[in-house]
Symmetry: C2
Subunit: 508 residues, 2 copies
């Protein structure tokens, strides 16, 4: 009897924490996007972006190939400084597709970019990792693999992002091989490849080809690069070279100016927004000059800094406004749009972390973002990824997935019969309408404790961070890898071994 | 030298934590409200509310005066059950003013209700209080006074709310006297009076008259009652009697259906929204039947419950959608609108608390709410008010105050000169534009720590809750009461003494 109960509870628990299989591969939005600015304001921002590109210019450093592509397209090139006639950069973006499919190793996890679709992805780029048990430390390949697994297990994360954290125990020139392998082996979702050097981008593509095949990849998107701008108004050759590798292969790029206003742009939001718009148009234009129609995402990562200390800050009101506004510029360009994330400067998963993260995420949701990575795990301004924070954020993505479903009004939802049954002044707990709906009526956030104080006290007065600790430990215990064709796995491992043997380790 | 530094630091600290004097008495919104639903959906919800009032009906219990007012106005009265022809209740709301001023003891703190204005108020109604030092306990009058002081000290809280917490050390039939006195003595902002019995509402008015004068109050709003509906579709006489007392004196009422969908309404949002709309219209109509033109707020408090345990839940996606939708119905009625708050089921000021609170507040801000009380201090589904939570929430109100300012686009904000000065690829930290703007460019949330990990560690690895503890202790240490005419103070104390002597203590 006890054994049966335990088995049943275990089964129920597993279902409740690993419903990823039943979850949608991506989301479809059914609520309108918020329109912060009117036509006049938007036009003025667009004109200012055109002024920046025509008068101030933008540099592409140490990449003569990219400069030549722009020269051939009719831009003015003065050394490494590019200038565009008004409207020229925008016109070059016109061949980028408005919507497209990204293919996953598991076709049931293919995702759609653009239009009314929304894709959540995990964090990207932190050298440190933290958890309640071991504290803050450098991230390792094991951590990286763990976060791939946690992303795979979440029903609310659709995209593995890329460098979820830096596996700093692996040589700088080799870790991309282990990261791409982890994405392909421990998950079956879409992901990003390396952008830290063109040959690493090529390796990422080569590994993807082992899984998807070269012919398929000529026609279909399976891997992306995340391209940052060296704001203000500079692209470095590392980024443009990686961009060119992905675009030439007809694979994806996410062009993301990361701008802290006051340092990498003027401190005022209109300048910040117009500059980001100018910068991202040039990146998008380059993808199209490399290969017309190459899939690309209009990205933005606009935030603030503490102007006394110089520290980056997140979830601030100024970043909310900038996010809302640039989303409108993106929509007017008609491209898939990336912004937002569960972002915070906090060092641990405390009240600050979730206040800032929720504030950073909400405008992205209201703005109608299509792609939100950095959606799970961020701490310490991106320097650290947290295990507890990760599972909190993922659950919060589930809540937002419900918000964008909106409200459907029909006879059943209006529940006229429930009033006929219950009458006036009696509760609705037992009426048929409630019984029919109670299982699916509300999104259930398991980490949010709503129990009475006494029950919560008896359970040890755990705060959300402590409950989150229990959650991720359990998830990793129960993780099972998705199936993979053994010959493909072998080919991947063989490729990695050969690549690793071919050069010495480099550590910077 | 050391003494001078200390003195300077003290002065600076006091300025930074008590800038209430320089803060605006209320906010004016410069961003559009979010429109979730289209015309067809809104009409359908309104029609369903009319169906509820015409077919199902609504009860007013044990208040023959209110029933008679509705009978005279042409409603159908069957025992205690009221029914309205379609459109009738709505038509009765038409004499309520769309905008009005609420007067504070300090005229500089007068606030505006309705239109584009927004007023933040503190929490309301919790019997328990908690802080990091002493833990959870019953609230006392000292706690009540402390929260009045903390509200007064915050630059971002404009309204004292009313029963910020229940001073359970004072007899039930007398505590309203001490509460109203605390509002009048320890603050100079607007506040609400008692609604727990009509004679206590009368006492609240009497004390207000000592300060404002009877003639002034015949023409001007200085005190409000917060009227809850006993949903579904019932008003109790305690509430309607208090409502009538305030309305008859031309003072204010906030009509607030508090509905947990699944219990006090059907579980589906369209039913919840239509029912709340029907309920609130009847309360508003009653204020107008008592006195045409009496100021009133269209309130709503729509949330969810854990349908397995029956526990109330906050900041959920379903409550977000309901808040966004009912705000549209309120705007179509053209009345000042109350919704939202920093609401949570969490027992302490942890990640859950600020995640849920931020999620509960954001839709109210996007929806264009005019009055948001419960904006500071809420914990444990309203059963507890927290000192640490209070100061966190108040600071977050400051951030939202910045959001609703929106983005102003002009030549200075576009910062063309900054680019001419900095050029391409160099940072903007030192340019004139940044130097001119850096002090006021960004809202500064002092409780949010953005310092480097090492600095944060050296300062003791404090989480936000611990920093908030330091904050409220300091605020209370530095609190100084606003001035009051000694003769008025004496008259208030005399009134209270006489009232307290006139009856025995009652404890329930």
């Amino acid at each position: 009897m006890a054994a049966t109960t335990t088995a049943r509870r275990r089964r129920r628990t597993r279902e409740s924490i690993s419903p990823a299989a039943a979850a949608p591969a991506y989301l479809t939005r059914r609520i309108p996007a918020y329109e912060l600015l009117d036509e006049e304001a938007l036009t003025r921002l667009e004109n200012h972006a055109e002024w920046l590109l025509s008068e101030v210019g933008i540099e592409i450093r140490d990449d003569p190939v990219a400069l030549e592509l722009f020269r051939e397209a009719g831009a003015s090139v003065d050394g490494e400084l590019l200038r565009f006639d008004r409207g020229h950069a925008r016109a070059l973006c016109a061949t980028a597709p408005a919507t497209y499919t990204m293919h996953a190793r598991n076709p049931q996890k293919n995702i759609e970019f653009g239009g009314n679709h929304l894709v959540f992805g995990s964090a990207y780029g932190s050298p440190f990792v933290t958890d309640l048990e071991r504290g803050r430390r450098y991230a390792t390949l094991e951590d990286f693999q763990n976060f791939v697994k946690l992303t795979y297990l979440s029903p609310w994360l659709h995209h593995q992002s890329g460098t979820i954290c830096e596996p700093v125990d692996i040589a700088v020139n080799k870790r991309h091989l282990d990261m791409v392998y982890a994405h392909l082996r421990f998950s079956d979702q879409p992901f990003m490849g390396s952008v830290t050097a063109p040959e690493r981008a090529e390796d990422s593509l080569a590994m993807a080809r082992i899984v998807f095949g070269e012919a398929f990849m000529q026609e279909n998107l399976v891997i992306q690069g995340n391209i940052n701008v060296n704001s203000p108004l500079v692209y470095d050759n590392t980024m443009t070279a990686a961009l060119r590798v992905y675009a030439a292969a007809n694979q994806g790029n996410v062009i993301s100016p990361f701008i802290m206003a006051g340092a990498m742009s003027p401190v005022t939001q209109p300048a910040l927004i117009a500059q980001a718009h100018a910068e991202v148009m040039v990146g998008i234009a380059l993808t199209q000059l490399v290969r017309r129609g190459a899939p690309v995402v209009y990205g933005s990562f606009l935030t603030t800094m503490d102007l006394k200390s110089g520290a980056p800050t997140f979830g601030t009101p100024e970043s909310t406004l900038a996010t809302l506004a640039i989303s409108q510029l993106s929509r007017r360009l008609g491209l898939p749009f990336r912004c937002g994330g569960h972002l915070t400067a906090s060092k641990l998963a405390d009240a600050q972390a979730m206040q800032e993260s929720t504030n950073a995420m909400n405008p992205a949701i209201m703005a109608g973002a299509n792609f939100i990575f950095q959606a799970a795990g961020w701490l310490e301004s991106g320097l650290t990824i947290g295990y507890e924070k990760f599972v909190m954020d993922a659950e919060q993505c589930g809540s937002l997935a419900r918000v964008i479903q909106g409200i459907e009004i029909d006879t059943d939802q209006l529940a006229g019969d429930a009033y006929r049954e219950a009458g006036v002044g009696t509760n609705f707990l037992g009426v048929s309408h409630t019984m029919q709906h109670y299982r699916n009526a509300n999104y259930r956030a398991d980490l949010c404790d709503a129990s009475p104080f006494e029950q919560w006290s008896e359970a040890g007065c755990k705060d959300m961070q402590q409950r989150a600790y229990d959650r991720w430990k359990q998830l990793l215990r129960e993780y099972q890898a998705p199936p993979i064709d053994p010959s493909i796995d072998e080919a991947l491992l063989d490729f990695i071994a050969r690549k690793k043997d071919s050069v010495a380790d480099a550590w910077y």
